[in-house]
């Protein structure tokens, strides 16, 4: 099979075309209001946290699992971390301590997921549905609905508003300045890390192998149990980080803010070419898909579509994503 032919059989190829086409169409329909620096800055900013979450979902799905609990882990981690920092008067200058605390909490929760999944060999979707509900319950019990907005430690706000560059346009007589947030660098770092992990390390190949056939992976000599434990633990750590990043970017810590997030992230990952049966998926496809949903949700206002229609769009993504995934699996298994 030639290289070109193989390329056209990959979901990533089509999702990339869709992304490019969508950008051009929206750019034209909105009267040249998409592919301009300030819009791009906004979209990149909106993509940052979702992108990191999507990478977490991707690695879990490649291993043949589902993690529904990542928003709950993130929310619990940042809520607790913010509360601790606030009460102890930490993070007035820089937010590092806050991130470390949040990641530590995320790690512990991830270990809990990993322990149950690897030891009892249970269905990952059901386990994480259970732990998700548990973690949400835990944060509701401890924090109630308490939202921390104005009192947020100064260090968090500083990171959220730090910029790489800014761009000024004049709309009418007003001058509007948009910033390219520093936080996008974190997304780029995670993209590089995830790509390296999945393509260049035996751990990453183990995830593909386990997703393809767990029995074969075991027989080949992989320690499936340990691999899964490490996977869910690391995902917990990264979710703790991403959650904290969200607090900085939005300048608020709302315990319930991420509830239901998994229902937009996971379909996007599937749309990006990850298989619901495991063993398939790439960082590139995932980022293209996250790009698509972010652009669409950000452009709805520009295009004059009420944001209430957002769910319709998400629903379509779920259906398209799982259909493509199932059709491909069918082709593979004869």
């Amino acid at each position: 099979m030639s290289k070109a032919k193989r390329l056209t059989r990959r979901t990533e190829f089509y999702i990339f075309i869709v992304l490019v086409a969508l950008c051009i169409v929206i750019h034209i329909v909105s009267g040249g209001n998409l592919l301009v620096p300030d819009k791009i800055f906004t979209i990149l900013r909106a993509m940052t946290v979702d992108g990191i979450f999507a990478l977490c979902s991707l690695v879990v799905m490649i291993s043949g699992g589902f993690d529904l609990s990542f928003p709950a882990i993130a929310a619990f981690s940042y809520s607790l971390s913010t509360t601790i920092c606030l009460n102890a008067g930490l993070c007035q200058d820089n937010p590092v301590i806050g991130f470390i605390i949040s990641m530590a909490i995320g790690t512990v929760l991830g270990m809990f997921n990993g322990w149950i999944i690897s030891n009892f060999k249970l269905n990952t979707m059901l386990v994480t549905l259970g732990t998700q509900t548990m973690f949400i319950g835990l944060s509701m019990g401890i924090f109630g609905m308490k939202e921390i907005t104005s009192k947020l430690p100064a260090g968090f706000k500083a990171l959220g508003t730090a910029k790489i560059t800014s761009y000024t346009t004049t709309i009418g007589s007003r001058e509007v300045t948009s910033d390219l947030s520093v936080c996008i660098i974190f997304l780029i770092i995670f993209i590089i890390l995830a790509s390296f992990l999945l393509r260049k390390t035996m751990f990453g190949r183990a995830l593909y192998a386990i997703g393809g056939s767990e029995v074969s992976a075991e027989r080949a000599g992989y320690n499936v149990k340990r691999t899964k434990f490490i996977l869910y633990t690391v995902v917990g750590t990264v979710c703790g980080f991403a959650g904290m990043l969200r607090v900085c970017l939005t300048s608020q810590s709302v315990p319930k803010a991420l509830v239901g997030k998994e229902m937009t992230i996971i379909p996007a990952v599937i749309l990006g070419g990850a298989s619901i049966f495991g063993g398939e998926g790439t960082v590139f496809g995932t980022m293209c898909a996250i790009g698509i949903i972010t652009i669409v949700s950000n452009s709805m206002i520009v295009l004059g579509i009420p944001t209430a229609w957002q769910n319709l769009f998400n629903g379509i993504i779920i259906l398209v994503g799982i259909t493509v995934s199932a059709v491909q699996a069918k082709r593979r298994n004869g």
Partner: protein
Amino acid sequence: MSENLLEMRGICKTFGGVHALDHVDLDVKAGRVMCLCGENGCGKSTLVKTITGVYTRDEGDITFNGKKLGKITPAEASQMGVQVIYQDLSIFPNLTVRENLAINSEITSGKKIVNKKRWEATAKEALSKIGYNIDLDAIMGELNIASKQLVAICRALLFNAKLIILDEPTTALTRREVEALFRTVRQLRDSGIGIMFIGHKTEEVFEIADDVCIMRNGLNVFSGPAKDLNRDDFIYYLTGRRLEPDPFIPKNIGETVLKVDDLTLKDHSCKNVSFELRKGEILGVTGLLGSGRTELALALFGLEKIASGSIILKGQKVHINSPMKAQKLRIGYVPEDRRGEGLCLEQPIADNIALASLKRLSNKLSIIRQKDINKDAEIWKEKFSIKTDDVRKNVSTLSGGNAQKVVLSKWLATDLDILILNGPTVGVDVGAKQDIHALVHDLANEGLAVIIISDDLPEVVVNCNRVIVMKEGEIVGRFDDDEVQEEAIVKIIS
């Protein structure tokens, strides 16, 4: 090279008081093919697992390559040079051929980082072991089974395999693929590797084996060179009984129940097919794969679209457009892939038997009486001697032959006029095969009209009083009562 590569003496293994292995002896010599045979549940796989270290033996000695083995783990067995090609091949369907070939040795050598060049070299080395040529970038899951098998064999050879154990490798292969596999096996044998071939198909065993070891009920009942064994003895050792071919003698052939007249299917997989079927007879339909034999059966069961021609049932023209309609007309169909199409594996045996006759087993309010279902199932269990201690156990606990008996019971419980059997004994042990045949004979003699679709010619010849041969969708030969002979069919079949 006649000293034993693997020597097992007095191996015992019990599971919960049941002797799975009872003082089994087994030898494999380097450079020879040893066939390990036995019916399902005889202890073959348990024995293999004691060699590979998955199970620990209770008693007995294992010597491999001159060294006595104590307790071993699967990883140690692999390092010593014992490689198993499992039936599922242990491949990764989502990865490329290259990765499938290289991944095991990468893990074993404890590599942490992927090196593309090294993977490529490993993969090429693996293929060169048997001179196999395949696109390294191909996705494993998209290959056919024979190619997957060869890749799995190549992968095993990377570990300096001294003993290769092939677990029923021919089950899903076509005849031509089996020949190709055997060529590879002989090539490996001639290079000095000991081969342990697990199988139960008589013809294949005699074709490939240098030595044979037969097991029955955990005992090793025969060991020795294949040339000391004839076919009758082989089957005797396998089943514990002398099986005489028991040809079907129709006792009361009645009126014509089914008449197919100039039938052509929409996709032209059957063209201008005409035949008659009488009460009390067994009609054989044979032909190669793709000859239209299966499509013909599906048409009679309402699963194929008919373009022209007619089906006449007891003198009345009928349109069978769905399996429901066929059932109403008292036609039953037992598919080839019974595990996939004929049975709900994770449901109790009793419920499976009742599946087609729920109407009879429920009351006026359509409430099903579980007691009657179980009672019904007990009757069939007795009649067909289905080997289970409880009909409430799941079908997945049964062997292939017994599962097939459940499928038959399901249809017979509905009171049929016509029963269509597609490959009724595919993957069934020799002993159970005989049982099923005897049962079908009885049913026919009780007045059922039976159609057996099969490419197993001896099966067709022995069990059918009339045979039609199909080729490319058309009937190319008909044999009546006394003239059904294997040689004659072979001549026209291909």
